[in-house]
């Protein structure tokens, strides 16, 4: 029981990070902090994919004499795509925050909501 619990430690880390990021996205009013939370949330998924592909004792997937066991490269390649998407999302988000700061003079969401409500 205890062994399986600890043996799955990579998944516990993923869940912890994912929930931490998700909580930050929902609870923070600061637009930059929200994006950081979003990024942590996404990174947790990257870790999930990477740890799924790892084969214990396996090497990198290279064609070489004597290499018989290697990690599954597919999840790693997939997540490379998702990382690029994550970078694009965060940079677009930050660009929007810059524009929001110019337009509203603040990056606190509750203040922006007040100004929106006022017209």
């Amino acid at each position: 029981m205890w062994q399986t619990f600890l043996g799955l430690y990579n998944y516990w880390i993923v869940i912890l990070l994912m929930m931490a990021g998700f909580y930050i996205v929902m609870s923070r009013h600061n637009l930059v902090k929200k994006l950081i939370g979003l990024n942590i949330f996404q990174s947790a998924v990257f870790l999930f994919y990477i740890s799924v592909g790892k084969v214990r004792g396996g090497t990198a997937p290279i064609v070489e004499e004597g290499i018989t066991s290697y990690s599954n490269p597919l999840p790693h390649v997939l997540i490379l795509t998702a990382i690029v998407v994550g970078v694009a999302t965060v940079s677009l988000g930050l660009a929007l925050v810059v524009r929001l700061k110019e337009a509203y003079g603040t990056i606190e969401e509750d203040e922006i909501n007040e100004m929106d409500a006022a017209g």
Binding site: F41, A88, L96, L100
Partner: protein, 492 residues
Amino acid sequence: MGEHLPILQVILPLIAAPVCLLVRHGAVCWLIATLVSWLCLAIAVLLLMQALDGGTIRYQLGSWVAPWGIEYVVDRLNGFILVIVAAVGAVVAPYALRSVAEELPERQIGLFYVLYLLCLSGLLGITITGDAFNVFVFLEISSLSSYALISMGRHRKALHAAYQYLVMGTIGATFFLIGVGLLYLMTGTLNMADLAEQLKPLAGSRIVLAAFGFIVVGMGLKLAVFPLHLWLPNAYAHAPSAVSVFLAGTATKVSLYVVLRFIFTVFGFEFSFAGQPFGPALLILAIAGIVVCSLVAIYQDDVKRLLAWSSVAQIGYMLLGLSFATALGLQAGLLHIFNHAIMKAGLFLAMGCVFLRLGSCRLEAIAGVGRQMPWTMAGFLLCGLSLIGVPLTAGFVSKWYLVLAALEKGWWPVAALIVLTSLLAVVYVWKVVEAAWFREPPGTAGRVGEAPLVMLVPLWIVVAANIWFGFETSGSVDVAKAAALALMGAVE
């Protein structure tokens, strides 16, 4: 050439986008975008015809054999969705010329078409691909470009709306990614057809159930299922007019397609509906969405926001058809996807024309506009009737089939509810009609002229479609029926 149509469908707009980025000249980019949109529509129609005649088309990318390579699959269902997306694109592109020139600063006009083409290629890609991870990639291509498109709105609220959509949309897409990861963990494959085979013996697995939850909730966020819809009204209300038309006609429909594809093709009918109370849960959400969002729509004083809330309610009707879990219900839902695309695109097109002349879509600003822009507002009225579901319009056909499907299940309270909630649509459409025709224009406003022809023609093409598909129902109904039967048949 003919055999490469599936890839051309996606890659034409994908290549045209960087070309536009190099050109940067507004009018040239518009020309490229319009030509590409029309070509995409032609390809989509050809693909649908092939799929209706000869069955499913499979295209192996780079000749890498599935399930290892990525394959594009066109069957009756996604052929139908491809035509919807491409048709909305083909109508929006010519319309955008004047609308965008008016609403955007000049240096952004070329970039607008770059983003539009990327968004189009993303939406077509989501629809055509037969690979689960590829869906995520195209989903993000279309999402990132639509966040940027929405932020181009004239008011600063557009920026806030785009930011909110970015956060919600990214959470949705990441949920989807987790779901796909769990499926890969269990099966070692990403090809949808192969996934369906591999998942059959795993029906009792908790992990597959979790994957189902993540995928449905993630796409539910993109689809704006009540109560995950909060990003949608602001995004549609503050985006540039052409963007509102395009997204209202395509984005949520494509997300709904992904949900359908996963619950029917990948997870299978048995797993989705028989193994868990998915149908009843969807039924409750659909009805809550229809009632609540129709009521909220009534209290809006900005017409674009009103239409956006009505969109969330209309998504409820599509999900209602799905929640019946019958071929007839599914057919009604699919029909409503198509009909809603044409009616809501028409309404937003008309509002774009009004915005061009008045610079506002608020009810007090459009007072009396019916007499000054008779063609525009007549188009709005006809599409509004279709939205309500008045006989001889497209909207009637899908509501009719929805009621039939509810009665077939013996759920007459649901059937009554469909009719009653249509009355709520009467109220909010009437609010606009009343303001446009029966109120005096505000004293300060001068006379405004009719919208330019380049915007009226797309509007009236859509209006004509609303009437045509109300009379001549065989075309759309048959395709929806074929698609619904293919989905249900794939599992029996």
